[in-house]
Amino acid sequence: MDFRFEIVQDYMPFFLKGMAVTIGVSLAGILIGLILGLFIALGNMSSNKLIRLPFNIYINIFRGTPLLVQLLIIHFGIVPMFMSPSDPLVSLIIGLSLNSAAYIAEIFRAGIQSIDKGQMEAARSLGMTRVQAMKLVILPQAVKRVIPPLGNEFIVLLKESSLGSVLAAPELMYWGRAAAGQYIRIWEPYLTVALIYLVLTLSLTYLMNYVERRMKTDDLR
């Protein structure tokens, strides 16, 4: 099979631009997702069932349906109500943020619940209120537990941002499909794009492992 390198060359500037967009969109998604996710996690851990309900529904809807449907509804249905003209990048960022917020909320919940019950008891037995114990004792410890799964979620987001191509958001996958469409060729654009994704996710994985190792040695101060 012939592999036409000039196709890769021709489109390389666009792949690189797309890569930057992919990284930017994923970063925006995880940052907004973090803020929303913390808020949802705390709401979902309220002792009041009625307060918990909406947060629980949110989490179930966003974790229970495909991101592709979410993106289509957001881009074609919701964003147009507020924004004219709507921008697929904005829709993509909104979709990734809302979706990841649901997963991040569960990460936070698991992180908080993984802290030994004895920590809360010790804090309370010293006379701290529930809020003080959370703020001073539980959350600072939970943050460390939460970093590895958050790193993972970022990698997931990076890959899922490729669905932006369906909305014609000019991220990496979009340019891959544009090249494929122009030349009606499969291997050159898609292998190149796959390779770029692989480099991105593997570098992130190594970075994460490094951070985790650093945190472990920090623990042994």
Partner: protein, 248 residues
């Protein structure tokens, strides 16, 4: 146009948002990041004539139509056929191109007429007249029909053997065959496919329709249309057909 007479400050011109699905060569396709094609040249000329600037974005077919409905986009320009059904939801300019459906298939497949599509696996672009033409023969939502979100995907599917035939617009079919001489594909047309006409799409009730109809007319008269047509199709356009269709 002659720059001297026109207002020189381009900032004063209103920018129109245009959506397209740019895998429909030669009408619109991505040329390394730029949307280009016959439609692009024609729309640019018409807009200039009407005193607008256009910002053409490759939104995809679905997003183009949805964007027009919600007034996100001012114009859809994507080789869109004027149909009665679509006229209920959108406004169209006067016709600017005559087209007809055509079947593209791999050499060796036994297809000589439209009826031969029966029992074959057919690829179409979702929601287009190609789909309507194919469904007219084999039945609506028949399991032999695969609907793809973009025209390019139908050709990829044909090449990979995913489908045995693609039903699409004639100029696009011929362009594909021309650009892929090694692909081993053939085309066939059929009387059964009725002529159709492309129009520029506006959201319902748009004031732009009249202005662009007038601009198109000017382009027909002053030879700009012919120039653009010849650039992309290497032949003279038949303007009479378009004028006739416009009357209907």
């Amino acid at each position: 146009g002659s720059g001297g007479e026109q207002q020189s400050g381009s900032e004063d011109k209103k920018v129109l948002n245009v959506g397209t699905e740019a895998t429909f060569a030669p009408f619109e396709f991505m040329d390394k990041g730029e949307v280009s094609g016959f439609d692009v040249d024609l729309l640019n000329a018409a807009a200039e004539e009407a005193g607008y600037e256009v910002d053409i974005k490759n939104t995809g077919w679905d997003a183009m139509l949805a964007g027009l409905q919600s007034d996100q986009l001012d114009i859809g320009m994507s080789g869109v056929t004027i149909t009665d059904e679509r006229k209920e939801t959108y406004d169209f300019s006067s016709p600017y191109f005559e087209s007809v459906s055509m079947i593209v298939f791999k050499e060796g497949t036994n297809i000589t007429k439209a009826e031969d599509l029966k029992g074959k696996k057919i690829g179409v672009q979702n929601g287009t007249t190609g789909q309507i033409a194919a469904e007219a023969i084999v039945g609506k939502n028949d399991s032999s029909i695969s609907k793809y979100e973009a025209a390019a995907l139908t050709f990829q599917a044909l090449q990979s053997g995913d489908v045995e035939a693609v039903v699409t617009d004639i100029a696009v079919a011929l362009e594909y065959v021309k650009n892929n001489p090694d692909a081993g594909v053939k085309t066939v047309s059929d009387e059964q496919f009725t002529p159709e006409y492309y129009g520029i799409v506006f959201s319902k009730g748009s004031e732009l329709k009249a202005e662009f109809d007038e601009a198109l007319n000017t382009l027909y008269e002053n030879g700009t249309y012919t120039e653009i047509y010849k650039k992309w199709f290497d032949e003279e356009p038949n303007l009479d057909v378009l004028k006739e269709a416009a009357v209907q």
